[in-house]
Assembly symmetry: C2
Homo-oligomer: 262 residues x 2
Amino acid sequence: MHNELHTINITVSALIDLLKAPPILADFENIELRALASLQVDERRVQADGTIINQGERIRSIHLVQSGWGCVYRDLSNGERQVLDFPMRSDFVGLRTAAGRSYNTVAAITPMTVFEVPLCSLANAIQQAPKLSFILIELFARQRSLLIEHLTNVGCRSALVRTAHLLLELGDRAKACGMGDDKGFDCPITQYQLADALGLTPIHLNRMVRELREEGLLMFKNSRVDYLNRKALIALAEYDGEFMHMSVFDKTMSYSGAPLQS
Amino acid sequence: MHNELHTINITVSALIDLLKAPPILADFENIELRALASLQVDERRVQADGTIINQGERIRSIHLVQSGWGCVYRDLSNGERQVLDFPMRSDFVGLRTAAGRSYNTVAAITPMTVFEVPLCSLANAIQQAPKLSFILIELFARQRSLLIEHLTNVGCRSALVRTAHLLLELGDRAKACGMGDDKGFDCPITQYQLADALGLTPIHLNRMVRELREEGLLMFKNSRVDYLNRKALIALAEYDGEFMHMSVFDKTMSYSGAPLQS
DNA sequence: CGTCTACTTGAACGGGGTCAACGAGTGTGG
DNA sequence: CCACACTCGTTGACCCCGTTCAAGTAGACG
């Protein structure tokens, strides 16, 4: 695409491709492309079990995942931890939440590559092309949807149902960025990590996985999730994948029903 | 303040005052004030138990609370519900999350007044004054912090601890907008609503409240929370109010350490 | 005075946790 | 080559936190 801008940096170009692809589906005009061209982007590679952001660390940039699976969690002083999300391709992590510091850790489960954009550079780009802020807002809104779903999971769904629900969600997200289909997906998450995300003990999570298998609904083995009976699974979990579609703005970057003035 | 703009609409002026007050503390220059002046804002009054947004409803505007207490929740088909937050002054609600529709209901607990800003008008203002987007991003980041804290509550804190934690959080938020102090705050939330937020039954929540009272930590009676021993309560809950301070940007609306070009 | 809704308490039940092993796969060093 | 360590997964038995069911109190409002 963007052949209209031959001078563009190769890393920025990869970032633009990522933003244009599903599930973000950004649709840029020249003004946004020009602003992005001046963006300061680093491609950072993180090995498995490496950390991208440490709890308590000062945050000066935002990260967008290009490949690999991550794990965002919060450590408590009593040794417990709560996994907040498992970010993958197209997910962003890292905007600081409190007093300039991150209140959660972002670790890599598999090797990851992430685009790292300094906040000051991002702010400059937004001032050049304000519509770029809409993408960030979309990403925030989507992330909020995911958090709400996870809160609903641990707050009022039974262990079995919430396990099914999360494994459906992760499959849909993987599928949305081309890493799986309705049959299943490669899932590098350990049962310990899944348990921490669902507010369960690994022992009990294991029992739930076994039950889902014995009911002929789902298979979770060798870092692979296979849906044996997706329909029944969706019914059990009362799952509705709509919740994570991005749609504060429509794809032409105007508010639906009321196009923006350019 | 803004006496430099005599033509300004009185509702917009009230909105600006709200944005400048704690905890948002926005610091506007003329360009932002001019963009805000053209903003289409309605002041909407909602009576107690009225709803601002219904689950499944189409969303075309964003709401900022001026006064009163609200309750954001998600209904499940099995009759359960998860309360996501209790918004109060300075909190925003209502940016749609999925397929153009809201996946949660926003109801008023007390009578509320909210500023309603159509998304298209907001988008126009941001295009005139891009820094306005930073405020929205701040609000999103803060809301994410709150959701993360609520998820951590139900995911890995005991019933007693999470009750203490939420009542400390709500007190701090009330205090931040001038509706309480370190002694306590007026809390119109029923024990049923609190229970739904904490993933507990009202019966068990009641026992936890009783235990907190018997331990001499906290009193919750007649829509009023009084901290009897705030220090011990904070220690019990391992509470750290920092998590909800807004600080993606500093108060001069530039990224800390790297001022924006104007 | 009756009927709400919010709150309160007791007693019994059960979902999920805890504790304790064991199995399987993988990598490391002798 | 095997022993060893280590992490992830698996299973069983027991127990406890929080639920469920049932009932009753207190205040608000007609």
